[in-house]
Symmetry: D2
Subunit: 460 residues, 4 copies
């Protein structure tokens, strides 16, 4: 997963982008980068690590220019490596381009092979690089037409920001899978994956970029194009469930509100008798509050999260190894001792962490543990940008709820149903839920099946 940010015409463009990325840090902790185009020259800096470690005052000062784009990355396509970090900055026609991308192009492997065989040179292993190559190979005259031509060829999900010497172009795939929104900071325009970045820099939220929209920001102001065939909206439901920050406004709603609604729906069909509702922090908190409010069972912050987990944490010696889960979470003994608990998590992937937390709660004396999941069983891999494991590793793809319950050793286990998930979201249901239903609305390229997609989607 990734977070992207861009700004048009601000004298502190790199500094503002730094703050924007900082607010988007939850979307990717692996690498961070900023590029500025400044007249005829391009300045950029990208490095493995957190935003606050990657950029120093000296580095920011060297990123001159009034136009900037930035990127934080948690790899989906392309291995975890400095060369795959973004922005991608290239020399192209008479000037430079800088591109940042959130999403995953499903036909990247095929397009890449064709480009390579006809003489294009690839220097990264990301899907994103194909876009600039397609632009370079296009016969169109203007940058904007070349971009549109390129986007007509790629399939999959993309929210992207492209910087030229004098324009900032934002584009979103016709399904609107990944989020992207537009704001104004006094006389400047800003683009961000999530609105929480606007709050930090005190920019005004204007609107979301529309699915299929290509928005050009230049001297002449805003120009909005819709060059693609209109498609049914397919926003990523997992942004609501887990990925986005609760204070972001996305796909027309506030994330926190939706998470509470998931918890409330979960409680509606539940008649469990329990002493307290406990979230697995931080992602389970919203749903747990909703569940508590709907059920009347008191909410308690019975699990504590340690936020000092550094990137360089040293694996303890094998003899003292088994602390994995405790490095991140601990429970409050007195609170859970002898109590009947409803424990809420946003989703279950492999179920190994949940199992360890349950074991810890039992050790501290919990009497009953009723595990509730504020999303349906995750059965299918995501090919549109969420870094889920392969199908084999998704416990729900091969086990029944009852089998999962036995593995996790909880007293009861319930998931939110797809139906209730839809109910929770008031208004039209315009979401991609392929991870729960297997309903992949973008056809797999050529004769690929799901196994091949899994094989190729994360490894170029």
């Amino acid at each position: 997963m990734c977070g992207i940010f861009g700004i048009y015409s601000h004298k502190d463009a790199a500094n503002i982008t730094y703050l924007g990325l900082y607010a988007l840090q939850h979307r990717g902790q692996e690498s961070a980068g900023i590029a500025c185009l400044d007249g005829d020259s391009a300045h950029f800096h990208k490095q493995m690590g957190l935003v606050s470690d990657v950029f120093t005052a000296d580095v920011l000062k060297a990123l001159k220019g009034i136009l900037a784009v930035g990127h934080v990355r948690y790899s989906t396509a392309g291995s975890s490596d400095l060369k795959n970090s973004q922005p991608i900055v290239v020399e192209y026609m008479k000037g430079y381009l800088a591109l940042v991308h959130n999403g995953n192009l499903t036909n990247a492997r095929i397009v890449r092979d064709e480009l390579r065989d006809s003489g294009s040179i690839f220097q990264t292993t990301t899907d994103t690089e194909v876009i600039v190559h397609l632009m370079a190979r296009s016969r169109e005259k203007t940058t904007i037409d070349r971009l549109i031509a390129a986007l007509h060829i790629v399939e999959g999900s993309y929210s992207l920001i492209l910087l030229t010497q004098n324009e900032l172009i934002a584009a979103r795939d016709p399904y609107g899978i990944r989020p992207l929104c537009l704001g104004r900071l006094r006389d400047s325009y800003v683009i961000s994956s999530e609105s929480c970045a606007f709050d930090l820099i005190e920019a005004e939220f204007l609107r979301e970029i529309e699915p299929g929209e290509v928005l050009v920001i230049s001297e002449r102001g805003l120009q909005s194009l819709f060059p693609f065939k209109r498609m049914t909206r397919k926003h990523c439901i997992f942004e609501y469930i887990y990925f986005a920050r609760p204070d972001s406004f996305m796909f027309g709603r506030t994330v926190y509100t939706i998470r509470k609604a998931f918890g409330r729906e979960l409680a509606k069909r539940d008649s469990i008798d329990a002493d307290m509702v406990i979230p697995i922090p931080d992602s389970g908190i919203g749903a747990a509050i909703g569940y508590s409010q709907a059920s009347g069972i008191p909410f308690e912050l019975g699990l504590i999260r340690n936020h000092y987990v550094g990137r360089t944490f040293i694996e303890p010696e094998p003899s003292i190894r088994h602390f994995g889960v405790k490095l991140k979470h601990n429970a409050i003994h007195d609170l859970v001792k002898g109590k009947r608990l409803v424990v809420i998590d946003d989703s279950i992937v492999r179920a190994t962490t949940s199992r360890k937390i349950i074991s810890m709660l039992r050790y501290y004396g919990a009497k009953e543990i009723h595990f509730r999941v504020s999303s349906p069983p995750t059965k299918y891999p995501c090919f549109y940008g969420i870094d889920t494991p392969t199908r084999k590793q998704l416990i729900a793809s091969s086990h029944t709820v009852d089998e999962i319950k036995s593995y996790m050793k909880c007293d009861s286990l319930r998931y939110l149903t797809v139906e209730d998930m839809k109910n929770a979201i008031e208004g039209d249901y315009t979401f991609c839920d392929a991870c729960f239903t297997g309903d992949y609305f973008i056809p797999f390229p050529k004769s690929m099946d799901m196994e091949q997609m899994e094989l190729f989607s994360n490894d170029y």
Copy 2:
């Protein structure tokens, strides 16, 4: 403030200490250090930074030995500098000593001057260094008698762990101001500032070190001495209010439970009509849950905390400066818009942060903001180890609650009373609350008054 940890007789002593410090990281983020005594030699490593940054696998491997002590530091006495980080390791008589200390010695300046004038050389500016000098100057024969002699001379607060070539000695001042507890990890003994460190390493909590106790752990097992005049217990109430981790068991209770009780007491005398209770995370969460449960007003996590604040965060340019509070906290617009809020914080120091949060909530459309503080007004500086600002900077020392309310621009402001604080803690009230009452039970050295104490207590 500081956190300390020690282990007696474990083949992975340094590794276990690393994990222990990691669990105590909230007690000090400025520097971290570990010392191991291994036969005739001493190995130690200390550095500015977080535990997970200071120690690498190579560094830990070089810390050989089965006895270890560790320290995390947030400076109270002595400037923020590598030379002031702990453990203090010195050559002394026939071997080495390693010492870690949490607390503040009120007569350190005077003792230090006397020692210096009679020929002792100081290489740090910490109060802790006087203890080893007093031990070295003592005429007693054994290390333990020398330590006791030294502790008879110093005044103030101390929880400390002293490592010799073959003993681990834990000591706590006669008032029991700072916490310290004893645990067992299979055949080894462990000492820690807080019990949450035992949970992480899966050690069994045995008991707290008693006020005035000197506990010697050696080949002959545990030996418990009480060489000091028995004093009234004076546990630091601020550990409960703010400092300790909620999952720690301390001074006979669980911190989370006490915090909830503070919130409950606060609600009892409050008859405010509001739509929701919102904590300032993370420290206000416990009290907010208690307030919500007692008042029936729904609890909401309406303020989001960004945990990626790095140590190297770059101050934005002056032109884009005023984001201070937003770097750490943001509010959920939709949730607070048009609503009457009870906002709960654990304490108010300068009131500048609270004021900014209130202004942000107003900007997002909150209708009423009722600010509640789960502790009494902080009017007096702490001389026993909490790094409070000087009296002049404590807004409550010179302003009435009404004046503070006006400054903060909230609709109403209420603090917990000292009486209700006492009520919240069931059982005997055995706490130091000098920060609220000015009741300093340890006489100031010689003819010093409070201004002089402030002058000297944080600057050697």
Copy 3:
């Protein structure tokens, strides 16, 4: 300028390359890089800095594979930046390519513009990148034919090593401008810019790669191709004068021997009466020994060079600034006091350093200073890989010897004549001496003149 190294089929390929680059460090101190191709995958590491700082044991261990190429760089074409460091590693057809290059392609700007306009994307600003793009665009079938096709298009100087999944290919331009030689290390073949790298790894020197030769090393052994029109040899005379290490065997001779011969020729026409001959270390030493032996005037190491000049040396405050030359060189007072000196340097570029050294020698009491230069006046910029300043900055391009003497404030100044330089090199004279004569044997591209060449040759 750059140094390149490659090895075919050695289990410690990266380690050997590290040592090879270490021996070639004098050819470039700006960045260093090594790439290994290992079956289907490529591993590489490149970074700004010296070889011994760029590579750690961990980094070397991760560079798996039995084929490796390495590069040290001092920028000529392309700005000084990590993205411009080599090896260039790209995905190409069915596998990876890694390329290292020493030299300068005179028509790179034009070829690059054409490639870019037809859809190639450039990610560096080096001339080297055009070679891989030309290969990728070629219609030839095999890698080797594509390389040859690409080299038919580029003009200028190149000694290069290309690594494919199973071949190591070395190529040298038809003029043989830059050096490149072949060695054997037991069962492996090695390629290096200079033979001194073979000495360090105890490889056997076999021969120099011929001008215009393309040498393919593969499972089938060595295959030598000569696909280009045979040209007059034009070895770079400046390698002898300044650049190469004195212990290297290059262009059929040993560099140290040639330098001494330059000094001897210089002495032959000189009848100066002096007390001692002093070189400007290190580059003037060979010529000074030759001059001393021919003239009978004693050789003295009267100037001492400080070798600890770090990359991060801090510029002193303006108030104490003027130490520039002394940071690198100091003179022995007693030795030079009251003496008549012959001071020998290898060449004069701007004359500012020479002027400062002369001033220092005068300050220490030298009676007469006769400056001798073991090469002719440097009047013209180099477009074939030596990083000379532009013509305006070359003092000899606009001033007579007499004017230079006045500027430097020496008692006499003499250069080696082009004629004597030719005499010094016994056997056929097969050298490029355009920097002295302006005789550029490769036509400037299209309608460019020297000013335009200067403008473009160092800045893409």
Copy 4:
């Protein structure tokens, strides 16, 4: 070995000291440090590494004050560790002291034990720390009297600079074993181990500090005290042979001149017939020039030294290990092939390096190798500050010249005799030559013999 530098009253004191240390870098590459006293506060920075790596512009800027001392260290006493780096900065009486020391105190172990047993705390393992403890324990009133009292107790060698809040004090042991000199930089005074540091900063050399002199620089100008019993001068002859920079003026002569004289004396008794004289660079160059001039055999720089040896150079894999000597030195094949060589080194310690160089020269075809050493056989360890190995490792302490010749595999081997060494130094012979003669003029403490001295002198 160490280098020390100090400056009294200069607004750029830290910057000048940085430059001074840079010029003294050859005296110690392990750690570097600078301390400034500025009114009531002390600022210092010390770190493992080279001067140019240890200090950044920011670090230097923070070192405020007009008085400064600096130190570069190559450990003799005390293990190689940051805590042992200098300056030692301590709080003492009413202010701070900063001390730098070059030399070795022979009775440090004993004095240290006594101090420790009476209550002093040691935080380093250096001999230098005893001086500040002795000062602190002294009953004298003034700092200067306390220093003199301390120096009356210690034995061995010392050149030191002591900084107080308003004085700079330089002292040299009564034998004058280590060098120390005084210079003037406009209105400021400077003190340095060697005069080459004065050249770099363009200070005027005034004179050497006298043996037994304590020189106080303060507001009242210079005050020179001679509080110790006058002893025979015993300057370290090894400074001339190897340690000092050739451009330094020391013990009344210029080092380069003495080295040439050593070479000349060596040649006088030699009637070898050879083709060339080759130094082992850099330390053998002076003697080789002297030998060549006296013998008429041509001087050639036949061995090349690689100056890029970094501190972090990675040991090659065992399979490719044996390059040790070649990393530092290579020979010019053509030059030595078939030739009869006189190879000159300054001294022989273990003879392993010399042996490898001889083997390399033979491999390149040298016909005869006559090894000449410009000092007598090194038979005894130094207890006065040079970091020689223990007696067992000194090949000359247990082998005859003939046996050493056989080990090294040279055709002949000759050392300079003690007699000729004395002849080479014109004027009075006032030198410590204990490393050659075993004539230790300072009695070993109490009942220690040489083995015990070796045991203790380098390990506290």
